[in-house]
């Protein structure tokens, strides 16, 4: 015990000396980016503009949206309301998450599309949730649908209806979710995404609490991921973040994910959605 206190004192002193020298690596001022990140972004943007394989999934999604499908043999275009009226896709993506009275819930785009597939087309939720994200040679139908719907909001401004008290409440809950530390590594979303100018390895980490950071976190989803050549949605990104956060697995299309997406997307309100992305 005596030894420990002595050690604590020594260490505390040593630490003060040490922390005086602790400077961020490759000192990047807040809000600025290093040369490598800029090079990555430049060529990713170029590829998005000059031809994005995500468009192949958009084509597929358009077919799914317009065709009569599912046990009830109904087309989503004739039955699914994404918030702007049945069948209206233009601008719908940038105005979600929003509150849907018919479901009594705030829903993000993917969750809403899944809701429509279940309620209107007669698919079983458990079937859709069994393998909800793309893998080798496999793309879930809902992923292509989200891709199609999102592409129809390209170059429109994010406008999550925060004035709706339902949406505001979910937004505030989302803000708590990103700050919540737990798990073996004590990580919250904010551990990595709560400050400007940070990276994991070479990956830039957007600060979700700022409009610019939130924007860079929501831009590019859904996106074509170069690793594995797969089409992935923002729901996937959230789930995989929790995996790397060492959390348990969030249920597919759950309230928590909607809360996160509401927080992030609304923080980017007023900024332009550039359409389908390319991701590393």
């Amino acid at each position: 015990m005596k030894y420990r206190i002595a050690m604590a004192a020594i260490l505390a002193l040593t630490m003060q000396a040490a922390s005086a020298q602790d400077k961020p690596a490759a000192a990047v001022p807040a809000g600025q980016k290093d040369a490598t990140t800029l090079e990555f972004e430049k060529f990713r943007t170029q590829m998005e503009q000059e031809g994005n394989p995500a468009e192949l999934f958009e084509l597929q999604g358009e077919e799914f949206w317009k065709a009569k499908r599912g046990p009830k043999n109904v087309a989503l275009t004739a039955s699914c309301d994404l918030g702007l009226g049945v069948g209206v896709v233009k601008g719908a993506y940038v105005q979600m998450p929003r509150y849907f009275a018919d479901a009594g819930k705030v829903m993000d785009a993917e969750r809403r599309i899944v809701w429509c597939m279940v309620e209107k087309q007669g698919y079983k939720f458990d079937d859709l949730a069994r393998r909800p994200f793309a893998g080798d040679n496999y793309t879930p139908e809902q992923t292509s649908l989200v891709t199609y719907v999102a592409a129809q909001s390209a170059n429109m401004k994010f406008a999550v209806p925060l004035k709706d008290p339902h949406v505001r409440e979910v937004y505030e809950i989302g803000k708590e979710v990103v700050a919540y530390r737990a798990g073996p590594y004590d990580f919250s979303c904010n551990t990595c995404h709560g400050a400007d100018g940070k990276r994991i390895r070479m990956q830039n980490l957007p600060n979700l609490g700022t409009p610019q950071g939130a924007l860079s976190a929501v831009l590019g989803w859904p996106g074509y991921r170069m690793t594995g050549s797969v089409m992935l949605t923002h729901q996937w990104r959230m789930s995989d973040c929790f995996r790397q956060q060492r959390f348990p697995q969030p249920k597919y299309a759950s309230d928590t994910i909607t809360a996160l997406l509401t927080y992030m997307t609304a923080n980017a309100n007023g900024h332009m959605y550039k359409g389908l992305g390319i991701k590393r």
Partner: protein, 204 residues
């Protein structure tokens, strides 16, 4: 300090903080119950990981800025739990340390359960100059030993910091690698070697 008194210290700190809880507590409570419902066990990532432990609870309730008097007491308490190697030797093999620093494996639902796991070091820190793909969540550790001196005290600090970073900064972003049993004594020694050994490329 024994475990019981450590727990009561945490409880006292929590009580103090709960009394000062502010209006957003309501949303936090909603967020908590939402998460408890929405997370499920997958692989080794069991659903109970969603529950916060005492230290996490204090950091969560204070926006990672606990009042200094509470923080200092709890830091000392965390430090008291650091188990230093019985043989007193802290400087391990830097080559093995480099491999541990490179690996980000461990504890996710896609990782095989069990030890050893990686140190995740390069995810957040610049370390040896050869590795240019490094994160910047934490400070640069390049030339760590050279700048600070390869002294017994500094080795002890590094070992303790890796073992439990919360011993020095209660709400540090860095995991408590030894405290949670993620890294073994040998692994932590090897990481000390990587940072402190004059022969390590970190100090060249």
């Amino acid at each position: 300090m024994n475990n019981i008194s450590r727990i009561s210290l945490l409880a006292a700190a929590l009580l103090t903080l709960v009394a000062a809880a502010h209006a957003d507590g309501d949303y936090r409570a909603q967020a908590l119950s939402m998460m408890k419902q929405d997370f499920v066990t997958k692989g080794q990532a069991s659903a109970d990981r969603i529950s916060e432990d005492g230290l996490q609870a204090i950091c969560n309730r204070t926006g990672n800025k606990p009042p200094p008097e509470i923080a200092h007491r709890l830091e000392a308490d965390q430090l008291a739990g650091v188990k230093l190697p019985a043989d007193g030797k802290l400087l391990g093999d830097w080559k093995s340390g480099e491999q541990i620093a490179q690996s980000g494996r461990g504890f996710t639902w896609t990782d095989a359960p069990g030890l050893p796991v990686g140190g995740n070091c390069y995810n957040c820190h610049q370390i040896a100059p050869k590795e240019t793909s490094f994160g910047t969540v934490g400070p640069s550790l390049f030339q760590f030993g050279k700048l600070r001196g390869n002294t017994a005290e500094m080795q002890k600090y590094v070992y303790s910091k890796i073992y439990n970073a919360k011993s020095f900064n209660l709400c540090s972003a860095m995991p408590r690698f030894g405290h949670i049993g993620a890294l073994t004594e040998k692994q932590i020694k090897d990481l000390v070697g990587l940072l402190m050994d004059p022969e390590s490329p970190v100090n060249k």
